[in-house]
């Protein structure tokens, strides 16, 4: 279980330090640790694979599209947009209705990216007959699954930071207004949470790759879960809500309780957690994620929240996502360590 702990560290935004230790290991000693040998092979496998190139093209194209429409909106209604603070964050959230904004695209494509990076992690090694060969080398068995996860995570982190910084750069050029430090940190936290979200789906697909022998089965299962959560889950909850809605004479408090109950059910969906976190971070004017009674709202000033408060508000969501990610990794780790590896 030592490992689960260290993966917790990996999630909470420790990507840079780990990468630096990698470099320093390479510099100091000539012999690279087998784990990093495996990680660098996995990274080069990922980066040169066709599916990764296709995914990148898809993501970059959609992001360019949404950035374009966001900038168009800026030009049209700069007067109204400019009047409020957090001008820069609008780059990520603004849309004219033809194309969804940046954050919607990312929350839609991130699971797909995670699934495509992990669905054949273990089973393809098994099917190629390389797993038993690698396992007969003097390395610990968990290196294999850890290296796969680490490599995919590093690729995703690199991709998302590049993408985020590119959007900031484009925004700078187009708008000519630099982001405030508050905005910059909000964007950075948003990127980190997106990486955690991809890691969640990555671990789900690694889990399927440990369980299913056929990569096609594992990919389809991953996509099925993704579709379930992105399309059907909310429909089911809405049906449920219709059936359970309080009727007749009800107090305001009852309605609020009901609303919050339904929202909590929605939050079993990882994409709901992710979008809660996004909205709070990128729209500082969001002051609550649930329903409030009139008495609670009374006297509140409609000012944007400071970064610390926004972070505090999404903390449960972020913790939930990280916990889910670790849980999935722990399950696949356990299953993989117990599997007997024979040749094909």
């Amino acid at each position: 279980m030592n490992n689960t702990f260290s993966s917790a560290e990996k999630f909470s935004g420790y990507f840079q330090p780990t990468f630096e230790t990698n470099l320093s290991v390479m510099k100091k000693t000539k012999v690279k640790h087998p784990f990093w040998v495996m990680v660098s092979k996995e990274i080069s496998d990922q980066v040169t694979s066709w599916r990764f190139i296709v995914m990148i093209l898809l993501i970059v194209l959609t992001c360019m599209g949404s950035l374009y429409t966001a900038l168009g909106q800026f030009a049209k209604s700069s007067a109204s947009v400019g009047s409020d603070s957090f001008f820069f964050l609008k780059l990520f959230t603004l849309s004219d209705g033809t194309l969804p904004p940046f954050i919607i695209f990312i929350s839609f494509l991130a699971p797909l990216l995670g699934i495509s990076l992990g669905f054949d992690a273990i089973n393809s090694e098994y099917n190629r007959g390389t797993l038993s060969r690698i396992l007969s080398q003097p390395i610990y068995r968990d290196y294999i699954i850890n290296a796969k996860f680490m490599a995919a995570l590093m690729v995703v982190s690199f991709l998302f930071f590049t993408l985020g910084l590119l959007v900031i750069g484009c925004g700078l050029i187009a708008l000519g207004i630099p982001p405030s430090s508050d905005e910059l940190f909000r964007i950075l936290f948003y990127l980190i949470i997106s990486i955690v979200y991809v890691a969640f789906w990555l671990n789900l697909s690694i889990l399927f790759s440990v369980t299913f022998r056929q990569p096609a089965t594992s990919a389809l299962s991953g996509i099925a879960v993704w579709l379930f959560f992105s399309v059907f889950y909310n429909m089911i909850i809405e049906l449920l809500a219709k059936g359970l809605a309080p009727r007749g004479m009800v107090t305001e408090q009852q309605i609020v309780n009901f609303q919050n109950g339904i929202l909590n059910l929605m939050r079993l969906n990882p994409s709901q957690l992710f979008s809660d976190a996004n909205i709070t971070l990128l729209m500082p004017s969001v002051r609550s994620l649930g329903a409030l009674t009139m008495s609670q709202v009374e006297g509140a000033l409609p000012t944007p929240l400071p970064l610390g408060q926004s972070l505090l508000m999404v903390w449960p969501q972020v913790t939930g996502l990280i916990a889910g990610t670790i849980l999935l990794f722990a399950i696949s780790y356990y299953l993989f360590m117990r599997q007997e590896i024979r040749s094909r």
């Binding site: 007969s136 080398q137 390395i139």
Partner: protein, 251 residues
């Protein structure tokens, strides 16, 4: 020469109700080519997996190079090369890359690994295809690449699990010659598992005959012959047939 490389005592492996390996006692001396002979599913591969610490024995003791592989698999795997049955390579990478990768997993620096790999390509007779993708190799070439892959970590002992299955007769002959040469030149201990009687007889100094999870006989061919027929002139084939006559009648 009498140093013991492998020692198995009452080794047993059970999968739920099925006993794959049943009370095996065996020892392999240093520098010996030892054959595991027996039909498919007789427990040869499972025994090998336990010797590498890839699966845990239900009962009994294993010792390889004086180390318990169940508790210290890494140390054993550092000294023992294992060529699995139907070995796989990263098909989209060159043969050379596959070898260098294995070497680097054994903590050999990249430069040295590359040099060593090129030497091994010569040794196993694969010179000229180093930079071809492993996916384009023929079956026989893959087995040779597998042998090179096993040798790159400078092992004290190598375990070959059905290394000749699926190769044409000419390929088998040169593969076996290669094994004999390795033992002669490098003094390697070789464990050779096969269901092919003639191949085992050609190369092995001593043989263990497996059947239904049990080791029914072990020793060099004259000893086995004496054990069964009371004289040393019979071939391995005669011995083997004698053992499996009962088995054949069952079916």
């Amino acid at each position: 020469m009498s140093e013991i490389m492998v020692e198995l005592v009452n080794l047993t492996k059970k999968y739920k109700s099925f006993t794959a390996v049943d009370q095996i006692n065996l020892s392999v001396k240093k520098g010996e080519i030892f054959g595991f002979l027996g039909p498919n599913g007789a427990g040869k591969s499972t025994t090998i997996l336990m010797m590498l610490g890839l699966t845990e024995p239900t009962e009994g003791k294993v010792e390889v190079c004086g180390i318990n592989p169940t508790r210290y698999p890494i140390e054993v795997k550092r000294k023992v090369g294992y060529l699995p049955e139907d070995v796989g390579f990263y098909d989209n990478r060159t043969g050379l890359y596959n070898l260098v990768y294995t070497a680097m997993l054994n903590r050999i620096p990249e430069e040295e690994a590359r040099k060593k790999a090129l030497e091994l390509f010569q040794l196993v007779g694969l010179e000229g295809v180093e930079n071809k993708k492993a996916g384009q190799y023929s079956r026989g070439m893959r087995q040779r690449l597998g042998l090179a892959d096993v040798l790159i970590k400078n092992p004290e002992m190598i375990i070959l699990d059905e290394p000749t299955s699926g190769i044409d007769p000419q390929g088998v002959k040169s593969f076996l010659d290669l094994i004999l040469r390795l033992r002669k030149e490098q003094g390697l201990t070789i464990l050779f598992s096969s269901h092919n009687l003639h191949q085992v007889e050609q190369v092995c100094d001593a043989v263990g005959i497996f059947s239904k999870g049990k080791l029914i006989a072990a020793g060099d061919i004259p000893t086995l012959s004496k054990q069964v027929f009371n004289d040393e002139t019979h071939s391995l084939e005669d011995v083997y047939n004698q053992f499996f006559e009962g088995g054949n009648q069952d079916e």
